[in-house]
Subunit: 332 residues, 2 copies
């Protein structure tokens, strides 16, 4: 595999997060589903923004956060996603490149603005997302550079992108290219509601082409329409080669060909904001797999990265994850 240039290449929504604090009553007043992501139109995001408290702007996007994490572990990462030429687009492009992730997608002008997500963090640290997609789902087949896909050990797909048909088509193409070239395909189910919107297609993609699946408890049980995590975990065993299932404070479960590994959470002094916990878990796990670590170590790296991200506002690491892992006795 001498033509490998990246550990992980990802396709996802290019989003700038606008993070603020609120109480549960504010979520209820605005019909925002606590702990989940909902799509909103431009007038709704404006109303919410006007009504919410002071905010900070930090680059986000699920797969983008993951790739920044991979880079922070010392891995080579690239991102495919769409921004406009506006200020938020410039912020997104700057931050992901400055984090060492290759980002060659050109900004699209004169159509929709760059995607924003209003993320409301409640006193319990839970985040509720209100996303205006804007230009970010404007990914079609032309966007997916076959050479870049072939040059990555793992192609990582963000489930959120299923919310637009063109992007879904681009996914299909990326999966074909990756499989033909003998690369691994990883998928994140992203969100319980997102799974609910696209269950049949997710199942088809998982059975056909996904080598590594990421899901949290809500997503995997939604996928198999059960309330029983163990039942869902059993079903995913026969559907995919490798699955990493995150369970919040209960840690995570890695399932590989019938083998099951329980990974504990990494202790956190103060839970500030859960935004990006799943994204950064995926970063650690993918980096570990790409680097040839055993799955227990890969899971541990996921836990370490998730613990870092929930200790502060925003979904981009504030500490070099490679150093953090070394401090915790994991040699990379």
């Amino acid at each position: 595999m001498s033509d490998i240039r990246y550990d992980v290449i990802g396709i996802g929504n290019a989003i700038v997060d606008i993070l603020g604090r609120c109480d549960d009553a504010f979520l209820a007043k605005h019909d925002a589903p606590k702990g989940n992501m909902r799509l909103v139109d431009a007038p709704t995001i404006d109303t919410l923004y006007n009504d919410m408290g002071p905010a900070v702007e930090i680059s986000g996007g699920s797969a983008a956060n993951t790739l920044v994490g991979v880079s922070s572990f010392g891995g080579k990462a690239a991102f495919i996603g769409k921004v406009a030429g506006d200020e938020f687009g410039k912020i997104f492009a700057h931050d992901i490149r400055a984090a060492g992730v290759e980002f060659n997608s050109k900004a699209v002008d004169g159509k929709d603005p760059t995607s924003r997500s209003l993320i409301l963090v409640t006193p319990d640290g839970e985040r509720t997302m209100n996303t205006y997609l804007g230009i970010s789902t404007d990914i079609d087949n032309g966007e997916v550079d076959p050479d870049a896909i072939k040059a990555a050990r793992i192609v990582y797909l963000e489930g959120y992108l299923f919310d637009r048909p063109d992007a879904k088509a681009a996914f299909g193409e990326a999966v074909e290219i990756a499989k033909t070239a003998g690369r691994k395909v990883a998928l994140s189910l992203s969100d319980g509601f997102c799974v609910d919107r696209h269950r049949a297609e997710f199942l088809e993609l998982i059975h056909y082409g996904v080598d590594i699946l990421f899901a949290n408890e809500e997503e995997i049980t939604s996928l198999y329409e059960t309330s029983d995590f163990e039942e869902a975990a059993k079903k995913i065993t026969s559907a995919t080669e490798l699955a990493a299932l995150t369970r919040g404070a209960k840690g995570s479960v890695v399932i590989s060909k019938g083998e099951r590994i329980e990974i504990p959470v990494e202790p956190v002094e103060e839970l500030v904001d859960t935004t990006g916990a799943g994204d950064l878990y995926a970063a650690g796990f993918l980096y570990g797999v790409a680097a040839g670590k055993d799955f227990a170590t890969a899971g541990r790296l996921g836990s370490i990265a998730a613990a870092e991200i929930i200790s502060h506002m925003g979904a981009r690491p504030q500490t070099k994850l490679v150093e953090l892992a070394q401090q915790k006795g994991v040699s990379l």
Copy 2:
């Protein structure tokens, strides 16, 4: 004083901060004076931004930060400052209003963009600012609403605005209105280099019309062109009624008509970023004075607010300062 609507009204630069971390070598490479503020032009700020690491965007501006702090203590505050109609202008306007500060200045379109400050935070927590002023100094006399000035117990002026003649003229007008109406005038010297650029005019304004002066050690010694803090402190005693001089980790000194009160710093678990330390000290002190507290208590409120702001990135409080003060046994 039945027509009082505000505890403090402030005039200053309306700025969005772009905060990132760097090492001392990065500052040296870019000729950025550590711990100070320098003005940069558009190409310079672009070069710096391209070269710096990932950043977060948080509303800032020295006087604006102070007014948000006053509001967070439960005081009534208003801000006069200029933004453009661009995304950064919208962010600034949203954040200051969402923090409870009245902000009626209209956005100016088609001229310069909203002001940005690239703030580079070194591992020691020190901040170095690189400010592109843009539209923010476009304040002329027309901007200063006499009724609003008369309606405030204290008019607070940000020394940084001296960097443009029109803004300076607006200052003069605000001082006249305030003094005629029997209100207090407060001034922050803002920055050692800023004092150096405008020493004579600062001295004139202080002697003529300033009732409350804020300065740090570097600024007050620069004002009197001495390296001896005690000498500078002595000189300011005869020049103004009340001065609050901050000395970093050494705490602050409040000087009022010959009386000198030493205020210790409030302990901080971890010094993360000094951005806004002086601004928030001023917030606590001004709120205390406006609320009729003695100067020792006003100084303590300043220390409490400064300690909150240096414990995280950015110059806007993340905790309700009124609650923080109460937790620390100061009843407001």
